[in-house]
Subunit: 556 residues, 2 copies
Amino acid sequence: MYKTDLEIAQEAKLQPITEIAKKAGIPESELELYGNVKTKVSLDVLKNAEAKEDGKLILVTAINPTRAGEGKSTTTVGLVDAFNQIGKKAMVALREPSLGPVFGIKGGAAGGGYAQVVPMEDINLHFTGDMHAITTCNNLISACLDNHLHQGNELQIDKDRVVFKRVLDMNDRVLRQVVVGLGPKANGVERHDGFTITVASEIMAVLCLANSLMDLKERIGKILVAYNVEGQPVYVADLGIAGACAMVMKDAIKPNLVQTLENNPVLIHGGPFANIAHGCNSVLATRTCLKLADYVITEAGFGADLGAEKFLDIKCREANLKPNAVVIVATIRALKQHGNVAYEDLQTENVEAMLEGCCNLAKHIETIQAFGLPYVVAINEFATDTQAEVEALQTWCKRNNHPMSLSQVWAKGGEGAVDLANQLVELVEQENNYKPLYDLDASIEDKILTIAKTCYGAKDVHYTDEAKAQIAMFTQHGWDKLAICMAKVPSSLTDDAKICGAPKDFTITIRELRPSLGAGFIVALTGSVMTMPGLPKVPAANRMDIDEDGNITGLF
Amino acid sequence: MYKTDLEIAQEAKLQPITEIAKKAGIPESELELYGNVKTKVSLDVLKNAEAKEDGKLILVTAINPTRAGEGKSTTTVGLVDAFNQIGKKAMVALREPSLGPVFGIKGGAAGGGYAQVVPMEDINLHFTGDMHAITTCNNLISACLDNHLHQGNELQIDKDRVVFKRVLDMNDRVLRQVVVGLGPKANGVERHDGFTITVASEIMAVLCLANSLMDLKERIGKILVAYNVEGQPVYVADLGIAGACAMVMKDAIKPNLVQTLENNPVLIHGGPFANIAHGCNSVLATRTCLKLADYVITEAGFGADLGAEKFLDIKCREANLKPNAVVIVATIRALKQHGNVAYEDLQTENVEAMLEGCCNLAKHIETIQAFGLPYVVAINEFATDTQAEVEALQTWCKRNNHPMSLSQVWAKGGEGAVDLANQLVELVEQENNYKPLYDLDASIEDKILTIAKTCYGAKDVHYTDEAKAQIAMFTQHGWDKLAICMAKVPSSLTDDAKICGAPKDFTITIRELRPSLGAGFIVALTGSVMTMPGLPKVPAANRMDIDEDGNITGLF
């Protein structure tokens, strides 16, 4: 019987976080400890290192995952341990887990097996409170907006055109569509509203894209909250609370330092989902790592069609980051799924189906090539993989000239990715032609079409009438020069969750667009993707418990 | 021009919290630091001191306050500094501020002037995340409940008889009455719901009344969430998530140590409002202080009709605490208000009106006498008080044989309450006849009548038909032997906010009752009291800001 992630994490020998900080080159005076094994890191660390040259930036992405995930975080965490094992100074920048999936299907999310970040329980629960600060900041805006409507509505806000929603860091489907302000007049103005999960909020996006506290304040001020009765936009700044919002975020803006099971430094900061948001940890965490380490490994959520595309088109452009190499994680299990094997049968050997599913891997490789970046395929080994399957995949990679490495970090920790790390040390020295896929100057439709063709393999994009009207209106307001943040199901290259492999000649449908003016992008919602998940029949919460001594079970 | 509370707090010379802990006798191994000036304190501190004798317990209460407050926290904080100045080992146990009032009317709440708790900004914002943990725990229950309705409803919950509400730590009136689950079937089951402010939630109440993490888990399991189609109660335990809820609260259950401006130790933990909840900090914080210090000062919210009554009838009974003395805080301003002076005119000298308003003070003194406790009146001096007014009040106290002291802690810190502290040192040595007002065995109506007559001066209690039906139903379920937690406006002894002084022969109306089975009391809502406040026309949030260096303004 294997140990659970939680059991392995609980056996870890953690070093005091002050020691980890020392290893990373962060002076103790720049720390704000949260207990002995977590700490906030002052933004001065980055400021004081401005003149220093950046380390090499490695992105970890994946193919379209099964619902268990491809092990991107696991690979990322194992990689930093591997780099340190081969004597290189490396750090990781990761996203913070959301409580929604923790209580929902997934349980904890901080790597897995012997490639984890610890303290696992804290990271998965409240951590240092960043998510809660975002929730508070967001809902302060909503409360002030509805209060404005109630107290005379000086800004003449059209109550039926409020676009800013409330949030909770919870999977809670009944909050998707609500009516607020029912009852007597003292209960405020009645209107339709809805809740989004915190990680899909624009506050989360601006936290992750901000360069400083003042930049954060300015971006929050620019967030569109509603239109007035004349159809003109109303912003957070118009409500007069951008300062209060920035104040609420004063600690949340500082990256969090923790460690891997092998005691290497990790910054975990910000956690937008990659299906319904831009899917990357904060710019501040990535940039801080780049000043502190020679090799920085980071991940972007889900497959290269989602996280990597947004990392390369949105985050790197916005923050002027120059990525040096990409790791594309694939599992035998997911490849079999893309070869049409049912989820229940993924544990059974099926070389043929796996080879058929390699079309999905090939498509994501194409995507990375389109961005002009060197890559290596990491086969993330599962205990259920057979030798025949692994060998067949290795052969497939060789035959198609794809650099490849077998990653065994789940079972072996850093040792399991030494070969991968060695390959990356060479790969990052290659000159590369990284360039975002589209120019910001292109039209909204052209930008979306470029993404859909290049990264999904679609032949065309269909717009609902609502979406068409929105594009016309946004263009009128001059918002068409922003980046695009696609919202799409993660399991398929298409906008239909059930379609596997690498289909061609399909059309994706844009249902709705939402301007995120503080973040600097337009969210394009495809198919039926939701910004507030629901809980499964038996939520993960039902297996969780804690005993008298504070020992947690069931959080895995 | 006076300095603001925030300016005074920002000038404070804070000691490292490890030094404050040492002063309090808490070993460093029992701390979990949050930065350098805040720390969680392990529950082992209390456990390891079980055999030690308790210190003396002093409750600070007040008359019915003006909307600016009577300065109870200020007096409480000043008192601990005064006790330390006269060489006594003293500690304070206080409630945590809620973000609702911080962004609403009141601004920050951690004492005032030179009697404050610091770091003021952190305490008033996210502090150590306790409020956020309560919000999460509460909303996890709601999400799982609605998920249960959606996923087949095995427990046969009647969707129109769900009694457990969602919460946010925000003043947000439009959330009082909402409809959730609108839209397609995938959005869950449509039903009426509402949000309560976090500090009025039962999770907050059980946190404040729990004796241990296991007690907390058990109490959460006993919380009533709904009735099934047969009218039988459904509890959190039936949803199978009491363990997950306790896990969410694993850090929140530990008291927080901070310091006064004069570097004396303060535990701040739990913060139920006293108008709509039971109004006292956690039992664990109070009991920990009693083991560490010889004199423990604590406060209960609003006037003696609300906070003190619940402290003495609910908290002390439940936790088996023996209070030794009571401080009744009065201000000249509030007394004038009770003498029918308008809020705008309170700064103008008016001895006659003040003496007329002393009937309110007299009533609260009677209440404390009814509990069998010795007391001292603390006149909390304001800069606008005139000498004639102060002397007239002193004379009134002397003439009526009420022990009294002029407290100048706002202007002078601990020095301003040395006389009060000296009086208390003698007072706590008196034998007292403390006894809760009512027996738990009495009927719900009898218990409410006892409180209304003794503490409010009412002659009778009127019940709406809804309330009558609830009492019958609760009695049938055997819930009539619980304590009563009155919810009432704080500004008046009656259930009408505008009635000042000490009226007689009035009737209060009980509109609705809510069973808090985990907390162990029935909440009785009088008049039109709301469990979700609203924001004022110009919220305090609008004056708040933060600069590049993290300096906060407008939080006062």
